[in-house]
């Protein structure tokens, strides 16, 4: 299980030899006050550029490189047929303002994906415009705002459990709400605390189900009743949807609003951080507030429907990340109802197996089943001076992408592990073997990890203390 990442001492672009004369003079076409005289971008041969970026790619790790159990991120395999479809000029060389009759295929994909996602989530209508989970959250909360404004209700708070993703808090703030955080009890929503927190000031309660501990919130309907009794809305954070496909859905759990992370559940590649897509579904009267436009179909032609007077308008230019939406459409088409159900079953089986096996070496707080992920604690290693980060960095040497660490907060020295469906039993066992070895290893060795990556442990503290964010800041 030894792993060695490439360790290329690749220079910066500006440090590569330039054999081309790069001087540019001012352009006479430009008014004098606006003329540029120099531009500090290196002039290189194409082969230099190809080698530079290829050598850098060798110092990176994706789901094609190996096991990637990064909690809450659903790092499953990204199928290649979706990539080749999205690379078609028929998808890529479309301008967003072409006449509708020239983009019937694109509109059909948008329309059918809206319908598919609505059915997956048990929602009435879906907007594909938000381009990330966090933007879906912001969209949903702006819809909640508009909904309450129309009803003449002044609601200023969003309630969140302490297991919520950081984006929930930030999205609530961006939408102009005050955040009320409630503690969990035994790893799930504390119903008493929820009842105490939700009031006529509450606009929404946001819940991730299964939550970030991987535990299904079995009291979903009681939660919905408590929230709705105060006239507040229930928002579903879809980050963990991979665990419940075909088993339950947000509509069935009485959620009013829900977002999807197509780059998680529906296997579109994460791209090193993006692009993603964060469509939002709505139920009942909330549908009227969805962003503009929605794709529509009259039985003959597909079109864009802008005639939705209560819509909140736009959260992103045009129709969202079409290239990502197309990949998700292809994935859902390929998998179908049966395939997606198997995805969920395998992912959940892997999680519970891995959890049982990891528990032989590290505690996993809170009992019961897990869904897509579980959170182990590296706290017992603290007495030898080893922290969760040391475990994470040592896993790199064994060729495994580390789990998410130090989240959620309520687990001490958290290791948040999401195996997904894209791993074999051997892969799961290799992870357990690595944990077993790490537990017995010399603490100095762990603190010195990783040894086999492109670089040794990176000094993040001085990076933040004296930030150097560009070539021009290097010289200061």
């Amino acid at each position: 299980m030894t792993f060695r990442q490439a360790r290329n001492d690749e220079p910066l672009l500006i440090e590569l030899p330039q054999e081309v004369d790069g001087t540019i003079g001012p352009s006479a076409r430009v008014p004098e006050d606006l003329r540029r005289t120099e531009l500090g971008i290196p002039n290189l041969e194409e082969f230099q550029v190809a080698r530079h970026f290829t050598r850098l790619s060798q110092m990176n790790y994706g789901t094609d490189s190996g096991f990637y159990p990064l909690g809450s991120c659903t790092m499953k395999y990204n199928p290649k047929y979706a990539e080749s479809l999205a690379a078609s000029p028929k998808a890529r060389r479309l301008h967003p303002q072409q006449p509708e009759e020239t983009v019937q295929g694109a509109l059909q994909i948008l329309f059918e994906l809206q319908e598919m996602l609505a059915r997956v989530a048990g929602m009435d209508e879906v907007s594909l415009q938000p381009v990330a989970g966090a933007q879906g959250e912001l969209t949903g909360l702006l819809m909640a705002r508009a909904y309450f404004e129309e009803r003449g209700e002044d609601r200023s708070e969003v309630v969140l459990p302490d297991t919520a993703h950081g984006t929930n808090f930030a999205s609530a703030t961006m939408a102009g709400y005050d955040v009320v955080e409630i503690p969990s009890k035994e790893g799930v929503v504390d119903l008493g605390a929820l009842e105490g927190a939700v009031s006529e000031r509450t606009a929404a309660f946001m819940l991730t189900n299964p939550n970030t501990l991987g535990i299904f919130e079995s009291e979903a309907l009681t939660i919905a009743k408590l929230v709705h009794a105060q006239g507040a809305l229930l928002y579903y954070d879809g980050a963990n949807l991979n665990a419940i496909l075909g088993k339950t859905n947000p509509g069935k759990m009485d959620f009013d609003l829900a977002h999807f992370n197509l780059h998680k559940t529906f296997s579109t590649p994460h791209g090193g951080g993006g692009p993603g897509a964060g469509p939002v579904g709505a139920h009942g009267p909330l549908t009227e507030f969805l962003p503009l436009p929605l794709a529509a179909y009259d039985g003959v032609r597909y079109r864009l429907d802008y005639d939705r007077p209560k819509s909140i308008g736009k959260v992103r230019a045009f129709y969202g990340n079409f290239g990502v939406l197309l990949r998700a459409y292809a994935y859902i088409t390929r998998m179908g109802a049966d395939g997606l159900l198997r995805v969920t079953e395998r992912a959940v089986l892997h999680t519970n197996y891995l959890r049982a096996r990891v528990e032989e070496y590290l505690p996993v707080p809170f009992g019961g089943l897990r869904k897509h992920e579980f959170v182990a604690s590296a706290a017992p290693l603290r007495e030898k001076g080893v922290r969760a980060i040391d475990v994470a960095k040592r896993l790199i040497d064994y060729g495994i992408h580390p789990p998410t660490i130090y989240f959620p907060d309520l687990v001490d020295e958290a290791l948040m592990i999401e195996p997904t469906e894209s791993v074999t039993q051997e892969g799961l066992d290799a992870f357990v073997d690595a944990i077993a070895l790490i537990k017995e290893e010399d603490p100095d060795r762990l603190r010195a990890a990783p040894q086999n990556a492109a670089v040794a442990r990176v000094d993040e503290v001085s990076a933040a203390k004296r930030p150097i964010l560009s070539w021009r800041m290097m010289d200061r």
């Binding site: 967003p96 983009v103 994909i109 990330a132 791209g271 442990r457 933040a464």
Partner: protein
């Protein structure tokens, strides 16, 4: 059920897979997904390809659409390098040691954006220009504590609409400064009138939404009264235009689609965001910094993370997490491929072609190009006697498509369109367009 599954279930001492879902109570259970059965890979590709076949691309219907998204040529090298799955199947580089490749590329992307814009720092992407503008307004509000933003009335409707939603939460008021109806340039007097002691920022674009190179943007810095200056740029135009930092810009945003990305029917694209050094701790989004590893070797890492939602939660600068990293990688490859000389020659070429097309269109009876006098970059407004819809239909009959409708941006003017040229257009394309327009019907 596959054999491997049985072994795992057996290990867990479970009878069947359903035993893993007993924590989902019956009241919320569904029996299955309401979706068709799956298809083979071959069937999937055939089905989706057939749907896509119904599209007619700008390669098939020669088009002059722009307004932020352009069909410029994408060098084969960009796609080839972006297909490295070490890049495109990776997550956000939280684990720096395993992600040096991507981190270095994103650091170079930030550096290249700084070279184009003259700013000290850039983040590693926003969703697109419209959301970058929204985030810039929020950032100006944080820095100044003020609650208004002034924007030009001549602005892309998409950007206005998105800004309105980003402004809603913190209650930022958006005010629109007019333009000189004679020449389409900024009305500096009106701008100055609108700017007061509650103005957090003034936003202007260079080139303007109409593609115009308006020198008045360099004078906006004298009208600010303590407000910040946000400038929206076209990254290719930056090869010939002065860096806005030279005329007082504090924050720069832009649409990076033209840096080696495809139009993709509007997304994904690339939001550019850069600022002066003194503001970096108030900047939204992910940033990559240079540091060292324990051996003392150069290394890169995500930095200033205490601005971000996963650390700071509700006090974060923004909620952004997933961004457009892969497009930033593509932009870095594109800029390295072009180099300063390639970019300069492309920018000059676009300006020349725009002038050429302008000349042709101005010669067509019933057309006036440009609508306003002045210098233009790659696009320009064209007035036409025929209503936009009539013009569009006429061109469609010839297998062509014109520019973007300007009727909502210039409601009081005669019918007008914004025509954009790209480096794919040829002189023959222009002749064909002119013939279609002169042919009437």
């Amino acid at each position: 059920m596959s054999p491997a599954k049985d072994v795992l279930l057996e290990f867990l001492g479970l009878e069947d897979i359903d035993a893993l879902f007993v924590d989902i109570p019956p009241e919320v259970r569904v029996d299955n997904l309401d979706l068709p059965a799956g298809l083979s890979e071959a069937e999937t590709v055939r089905k989706v390809s057939r749907i896509l076949e119904r599209n007619r691309t700008v390669g098939e219907v020669t088009s002059y659409l722009g307004a932020g998204y352009y069909d410029n040529y994408v060098p084969a090298l960009v796609d080839a390098l972006l297909s490295r799955s070490e890049f495109y199947t990776s997550y956000t580089p939280y684990q720096a040691e395993l992600s040096q490749g991507l981190l270095q590329v994103l650091f170079e992307f930030q550096s290249l954006v700084c070279e184009l814009t003259g700013m000290d720092a850039a983040n590693s992407s926003m969703y697109d220009a419209s959301t970058a503008l929204g985030e810039a307004a929020l950032m100006a509000r944080r820095i100044t504590g003020r609650r208004e933003i002034v924007i030009p009335t001549l602005l892309d409707g998409e950007r206005k609409a998105v800004l309105a939603n980003y402004a809603r939460g913190p209650g930022i008021r958006v005010r629109e400064a007019g333009y000189d109806t004679e020449d389409g340039t900024l009305d500096l007097g009106h701008l100055e009138e609108l700017v007061g002691n509650d103005t957090a920022a003034t936003y202007v674009e260079a080139p303007s939404f109409l593609g115009q190179l308006d020198s008045k943007v360099t004078e906006v810095q004298d009208t600010l009264s303590g407000a910040l200056l946000i400038v929206g740029v076209h990254p290719l135009a930056q090869a010939v235009l002065r860096p806005p930092g030279d005329y007082g810009a504090d924050i720069i945003i832009g649409e990076g689609q033209s840096l080696g990305a495809w139009m993709n029917f509007g997304g994904p694209s690339l939001g550019l965001f850069a600022c002066r050094q003194e503001h970096i701790r108030k900047m939204p989004g992910r940033v990559i910094g240079l540091t060292k590893d324990r051996r003392g070797d150069r290394a890169f890492t995500m930095t200033l993370q205490t601005r971000e939602q996963h650390i700071r939660k509700g006090k974060a600068m923004s909620n952004i997490c997933t961004n457009e990293s892969l497009l930033a990688v593509g932009a870095a490859i594109y800029l390295a491929f072009q180099g300063a000389r390639g970019l300069r020659s492309l920018a000059t070429n676009l300006m020349d072609r725009a002038r050429e097309l302008m000349g042709h269109l101005d010669g067509v009876p019933g057309f006036q190009a440009p609508l306003f006098p002045g210098s233009y970059f790659n696009e320009f407004p064209v007035a036409h006697k025929a209503p936009f819809a009539t013009l569009r239909e006429r061109l469609a009959r010839h297998g062509l498509n014109g520019g973007v409708d300007l009727s909502t941006v210039l409601p009081q003017a005669a019918p007008a369109s914004l025509f954009a040229v790209t480096d794919r257009h040829t002189p023959d394309d222009f002749q064909e367009l002119v013939r279609a327009l002169e042919g009437g019907k």
